[in-house]
Each structure stands twice: as structure tokens, then as C-alpha cells.
Symmetry: C2
Subunit: 156 residues, 2 copies
């Protein structure tokens, strides 16, 4: 099962490497990670998406809690939450498929940030289901570049 | 000067810790970091915001390029690019200030994801100037929680 782990940490050198090192030492690959400042600039939040054995993950969470620069560890899977991600796509277009691509974007929750004759930059901010739907629809065109923020979550 | 560094890496255990360790070893604090899959699931992109001495940063970029799992290092500061971030805020509200908070949100590029009697969850996706403007406007109310993805960028 995928877990959404939020780790509040002191905004200090090396904390990021220590926290992500803890996951990799236990064989967890982090599928996405978003790190940003919180309402208190001395504190950063890491939102980590990991998939793996739940028992080992419990151990990792305990170890995280023992790190001196870690303030709180939360697993959103256990809580009612919203879950959002921002993605930018650059899709190559040509005269033949341009209108088709624009129509797919317009009929989705995404929108175009920039339309050129040979490419379109699309932005989507959604939960994973809507993002996967758009990705699937755009797969038959040439996605030149995709940049994802990684998922973030907030308790309701 | 703030730099926006994009690092394409093999999606493997430990790469994240190695890359972020390289910055902290040189005394750079990463102010935001976004890691997600790319159009190729075997490859992840790390978008890193750092501020610090430009000469030392050049050395860090060279060292990154030498890491076996690093594919490309780009600095968006040198390129024409768009720069976006997703932020979720939870603002505490009450009968007295509720309409004021909603008005600020409606007049900004943000929107409300959830409005309750005692709190409102706001989502904004923008460049840093618009985000700072909204943050400043909401500062006089009680921001209970702020979750940021970290900035991502795309070449135009």
C-alpha cells in the first residue's frame, strides 16, 4: 500500500539527506518527495510517498521520530485528507493533432499555460485519479517533458 | 542569488540521499525540493531551490554530474522558463473574519477547496510573486497549516 508520510523537520543542513537516507537504508524507494517551508520558516515539511512492507515502515517511522531534527511524523493514510499534486507537461504538437490535444486539455481539469505552433505546456493540479486520466489521454501524443512536484496532503 | 537546479536521476535506492547530501556537505541548505517521476518511470527529476555562493554551486553541479546515477543537471536561472508551486493553506476563521478571508481568496488567483465554520482550506498554484502576495494578505489571520510542494520549472 502507498503511504503518504509527512515529516516536520528543523530547517537545517543535512536533515533532508538523513531522512531520505533512512528510507533507502531500509530498502524503501521514495516515489515522490516534496519539501517546502511551513508557516514557521525554521521548520520544513517533507511529504514522502512510499510503498512497501507496512511493518518495516512502522520501524522507519519510529526511527524517524528518534532523529533529533525531526519534530512530528504523520501518516495521512490513517486520516481523512486531501491529496494534491502539480504537474507540468510539454506535449509536442503539429498541424494535424493540435486541435485534438487542445480539446483533451480543455475537457480535463488541466489548462494550457503556453501554446506554440510545435508544443503546448499544460498544467494540472489534482488528485491522482484525475492526473492518471489526463496522462493516459495524452500518452498517444509525444510528451516531450513532464515535471511533477510530488504529492502533498492536508488533513481535513 | 536563488538557483533552480533540475537534476535527472535514475530512480534507484539512495540517489536522493546522495544528491541532497552533496549540497549539505558544501554548506548549501536546500530551501525547497520536489521529486517526482518523469515521462520515463525509470527516471526521476529533482527540482532543487538553493541560495548561496555561485562559485561553490558551480563545483556542486560538477560533482553532481560525476555521480553515476545522475543523468543531466540544468540550472533554470540561465534559461527562459516558467516557475510554479502548489501550496495548501488551512486558515482558522470565525464569524467575524470569515467573509474577509473568503474575499481575499476570491480576489487572488487562489481558490477554496473546503470551507468549514472554523477553517478554510485554500489552494494556490502560481509563481513566487503571486504566492508571496497571498501569504502577506493572509498573515493577519491565523494560518494553522501550510503545505508547499516546492517550486518546479519548465523551459519555454
Amino acid at each position: 500500500m502507498k503511504h503518504i508520510i509527512s515529516v516536520l523537520v528543523e530547517n537545517k543542513f543535512g536533515v533532508l539527506a538523513r531522512v531520505s537516507g533512512l528510507f533507502s537504508a531500509r530498502g524503501f524507494n521514495i516515489s515522490s518527495l516534496a519539501v517546502g517551508e511551513t508557516e514557521d520558516p525554521a521548520i520544513s515539511r517533507m511529504t514522502i510517498i512510499v510503498k512497501g512492507d507496512d511493518k518495516i515502515l512502522e520501524q522507519v517511522k519510529k526511527q524517524l521520530n528518534k532523529l533529533i531534527d525531526v519534530i512530528i511524523v504523520k501518516d495521512y493514510i490513517e486520516k481523512e485528507h486531501i491529496d494534491r499534486e502539480l504537474i507540468l507537461f510539454k506535449v509536442n504538437i503539429n498541424k494535424q493533432n493540435r486541435d485534438k490535444v487542445i480539446k483533451i486539455v480543455e475537457e480535463s481539469p488541466a489548462h494550457a499555460l503556453k501554446i506554440r505552433t510545435d508544443s503546448i505546456i499544460v498544467e494540472i493540479v489534482e488528485g491522482q485519479d484525475e492526473i492518471d486520466k489526463l496522462l493516459n489521454a495524452l500518452k498517444r501524443f509525444e510528451i516531450k517533458e513532464m515535471v511533477r512536484t510530488g504529492r502533498i496532503a492536508m488533513e481535513l
